[in-house]
Symmetry: C3
Subunit: 211 residues, 3 copies
Amino acid sequence: MLDTDRTLQIVLELSGTFVFGLNGALTAMEAENLDLVGVVVLAVLTALGGGIVRDVLIGFLPPSALRDWRYLTVAGGAGVIAFVARRLWVRVRVRRLMTVFDAAGLALFCVTGTTVAFVAHLGPFQSAVLGTITAVGGGTIRDVVIRRVPTVLSSGLYAVPAACGAALTALALDFHFYDGYLAVTAALLCFAIRMIGVTFNLNLPTSHPHS
Amino acid sequence: MLDTDRTLQIVLELSGTFVFGLNGALTAMEAENLDLVGVVVLAVLTALGGGIVRDVLIGFLPPSALRDWRYLTVAGGAGVIAFVARRLWVRVRVRRLMTVFDAAGLALFCVTGTTVAFVAHLGPFQSAVLGTITAVGGGTIRDVVIRRVPTVLSSGLYAVPAACGAALTALALDFHFYDGYLAVTAALLCFAIRMIGVTFNLNLPTSHPHS
Amino acid sequence: MLDTDRTLQIVLELSGTFVFGLNGALTAMEAENLDLVGVVVLAVLTALGGGIVRDVLIGFLPPSALRDWRYLTVAGGAGVIAFVARRLWVRVRVRRLMTVFDAAGLALFCVTGTTVAFVAHLGPFQSAVLGTITAVGGGTIRDVVIRRVPTVLSSGLYAVPAACGAALTALALDFHFYDGYLAVTAALLCFAIRMIGVTFNLNLPTSHPHS
């Protein structure tokens, strides 16, 4: 990758880390009565969990989240901001905001996760799978820790948009037309599918359709 | 290992992946009202989780489940089959069937998990421990994600049969009498102990015997 | 490190493994009606979980817990002892005892976890983070598996004492004044802060202060 690509990659990664951190902190405060440390821990788990799982699976250890101090700072900072501003959130539509942050994190991480795996010499199919894992991993860890059914199980339109964004990114990398525009397009594709699914409450057919 | 051993290994692995995938998908549909993607995700987690934990612990990264496309295909395919045929399951005794699939996966993975660890130059004791982890890992991840007390904690006769099969396999590998017959014998030993425990509802003494 | 340091390290590690094993087993018997295997599995997960997560993150694979047979023996032994002596525990104040074991494990692992990471050439900040993860990791896995809100989320004074002990250890290692006295001091610092927090029921400000 050229230097501009690397700058783009880090900007997308840190943006995803920030919005997932905000989402994790808000989810934590909704679900349980936590103190500052609990909110920050859940912000960090949500923001960095997906990328750490990806780095473990590709054998890139220690993971980026521990090599580069900016990840922990941005993720923890998002938790502190969400906690300090907690009186503000009640005035805005928090649940809608949390959904937007979650969709934005999903969109950014499916692109960056795929790119990291591809640069580590994995094939395009495996890179797309790892990109999807990066995107849905943080939210899944968040849900397990606060004892919710993970969104990735209960809503088909959580893994599917991430897989679409990851597949487009992997195709572009494999056929050498990946650039900044493509990255933003893939992220927007994922974000759009996710938000359409949430807004219109679209669901795939379920196993007990009449229950 | 000779080539025939390698063929045997992959046949046992993919069989274990398939039955654990079916079990994970059926468990998912019993426990929650999930859509196709949720069922496939839980099938994949159940089928590949144990092997991925093993590969991470022995440092074989990326794990086999990501190197070889057949694992993801078989695990996901089992999920799709279980979902598509979901109306059929109500006619058969699903719970009994789920238990049989689970015991079969346990039996196959305790043998293949031990073999993989031994080939990676771990000692026979560590190989047996890793074989047991491979066998019980997928079901434990499945239970945590759908918020059940993991079977490995609540039923002593879940880890014990896996440990017996793994120990026999490790002994055979260490004393150079491991072959196809031994592999099948170890798997059947594990399967038999597990099914006897389930059928006669055998339990080890518990911590609150009179509660 | 000199040989005396290595002896100190292993003594602290196995002590931490033992007290976390006792804590995990007692917690298991409090929360669920488990048999011997379930109690031993939870003892092992609690005692070795934090160290395994640390070893995976620094890429030291297979982890110490599988390389050195003493870890599994001590952790499993603690589970067996707690189970066999289960009639004794009802006569003593079990909950207080569990808290003391947990604080002792936290104190020992924040020091040893930081040291392991530093010796693996991580920077002092990353070493302190990994020491904190080592200390709180086992208890967090224990809580997730028995379906409790993890202590690290619900009690601010769980991660904070571990981070203090880890930070003091990392500073000492970085400025070359780490020795046996410093290790014991850092562990006592963590233990004291944790026990003061528990005894006086101190809490950091929470997100819903008036609920």
